[in-house]
């Protein structure tokens, strides 16, 4: 029993060491990746909610997405119906 507990203890110490070693390597790798491939802010979106026109064009995307979704469900062509009145928050 004594012997096996001491074996368990040495396995435990070793295992924790391996885990920390592996994860520390991973940390350095991630830091290298983040440095190599930094986040680039996307080009500023055209101003929204300013003019009715821009809002509409934006809404069109959403309407298109919903239309496509519903079209899929209805088994009909997206050109067959039109959704209006989904306004941007």
């Amino acid at each position: 029993m004594e012997a096996s507990i001491s074996a368990a203890a040495s396995v435990s110490v070793l295992a924790m060491a391996v885990i920390f070693a592996v994860l520390v390597i991973l940390i350095f790798t991630i830091q290298a990746l983040v440095k190599l491939m930094p986040y680039k802010a996307p080009p500023p979106a055209p101003p929204r909610l300013q003019t009715a026109a821009s809002e509409n064009s934006d809404q069109d995307d959403h309407v298109a997405a919903i239309t496509a979704t519903l079209a899929m469900h209805m088994g009909k062509s997206p050109s067959e119906f039109r959704i209006v009145n989904i306004s941007q928050r």
């Binding site: 074996a7 396995v11 924790m16 994860l23 940390i27």
Partner: protein, 411 residues
């Protein structure tokens, strides 16, 4: 064969389950109902514990041929997927498809919290050896502290298949109890001031890093610990489906219907291994106690390492996010958020805790890899035996043929 009314009636009566219902079966039926109660009314990981409980119910109806050991039975068939370690990696692929590693990438140091929480695994390992389990069994019990269902099932079926049922049930039960187990430990180990620490907003991460990450983790970790490849590799494949942006179809299937189908099969199989023989043993009680120990020590390990990180960063890390290192995604991160906002209602720790939370998944997979490196090959003969079991039905044929040969030669 006779079909007189009397003979038929006798037949039906002697083949009812009542005729061979023993005390153990009855107790297991009650255990199954308790699991169903906890799953449905207490919301204990219902996606797993409901089918596990129902599988247990079916397996313990005498003569139903639904136990994992009933060759040719339905649940025995599903159980092959556990035995041959097919279903847990497929679940993990779905988990990867559902996981956003962004918070971890934004603060990679939180991987250390996922490592620190593994101390629960090893204290429990020592405790299990102390309580008389052998090293393989102790490892499988210890991994309960990893707070990760598929990992626990994978390791248990590899190192100690006879303990699969209690280990799986303990793992999922305690995962559900995280909101009860963790807060007292977290409050005991931290000061009010520490709990009020607000953390800086996370930096954004480029999509490229998110795509490269699963590939890098696979190469780095699996090269060092090849035994964990089925688990970690499939987790990362699921994540690559998610982040690559070019496999939306596969991503959607992996995170919905595929993981659901596999979960049903896996949970029924685990439930079918909960027979009186395997479950109503003193070992089960020990495992339940050790599992609670594992979760508690893991929580403490995470929080204490969080305090160390707090000190070393000059107070920029709130130690409460350490407890999320046990995994139990996303429950443990929510507990960090809750305890943090109890101390200061304007404190939002959720996203910060998601880092150590998903780190905990990687951490316990790595811990599993260490166990497989140490003990994996020594069970090779047992595993062989297991495989022989599956297709062992052919052996009688071979044996019969051989004995015919022997007979023939005798003449």
């Amino acid at each position: 064969m006779e079909f007189s009314f009397g003979a038929s009636a006798t037949k039906i009566i002697t083949t009812t389950g009542f005729s061979s219902l023993e005390g153990g079966d009855a107790i297991m039926l009650v255990v199954a109902c308790i699991l169903l109660y906890l799953a449905i009314w207490k919301k204990f990981e219902p996606l797993l514990l409901l089918p596990i409980g129902f599988g247990c119910l079916l397996a313990n109806i005498p003569m139903s041929m639904m136990a994992s050991t009933d060759t040719g039975g339905l649940l025995n068939f599903f159980y092959q997927g556990v035995k041959h370690e097919i279903l847990p990696p497929l679940v993990f692929m779905g988990v990867g498809a559902l996981t956003d590693f962004g918070p971890l990438l934004a603060n990679p140091a939180t991987l250390l919290l996922g490592a620190a929480a593994q101390i629960g695994v090893y204290v429990t390992l020592i405790g299990a050896v102390y309580l008389g389990f052998n090293m393989h069994e102790a490892s499988a019990i210890g991994i309960i502290g990893g707070a990760d269902g598929p990992t626990s099932i994978f390791i248990a079926s590899k190192l100690a298949p006879h303990l699969l049922a209690p280990i799986a049930v303990a793992a999922y039960s305690y995962m559900s109890l995280v909101p009860l187990i963790q807060p007292p430990i977290m409050k005991f180990l931290t000061t009010e001031k520490e709990r009020k620490i607000k953390m800086e907003q996370l930096q954004p991460i480029s999509q490229t890093v998110k795509i490269v990450f699963p590939v890098v983790v696979t190469i780095v970790c699996c090269l060092m610990l090849p035994g964990v490849t089925p688990l970690l590799g499939m987790l990362m494949l699921g994540n690559l489906f998610r982040e690559s942006g070019v496999t939306a179809r596969l991503h959607e299937t992996a995170e919905t219907h595929l993981i659901n189908i596999v979960t049903i099969l896996l949970a029924l199989a685990v439930g079918s291994s909960m027979t009186a023989d395997s479950f109503l043993r003193i070992e089960t009680l020990k495992i339940i106690v050790l599992g609670l120990l594992a979760f508690s020590i893991a929580t403490a390990g995470g929080v204490i390492f969080g305090k160390i990180m707090c000190k070393m960063t000059g107070g920029r890390v709130n130690p409460l996010i350490g407890s999320a290192g046990v995994s139990a995604v996303p429950m443990a991160a929510r507990v960090s958020q809750k305890v943090g906002s109890d101390a200061d209602s304007s404190n939002f720790l959720l996203m910060h805790a998601m880092g150590p939370n998903v780190a905990g998944v990687i951490g316990s997979a790595v811990a599993a890899g260490v166990f497989i490196s140490l003990f994996g090959d020594t069970v090779a003969p047992e595993t062989h035996a297991a495989i022989a079991d599956v297709i062992g039905t052919v052996e009688p044929g071979a044996k019969a043929a051989i004995s015919q040969v022997v007979e023939a030669l005798k003449h």
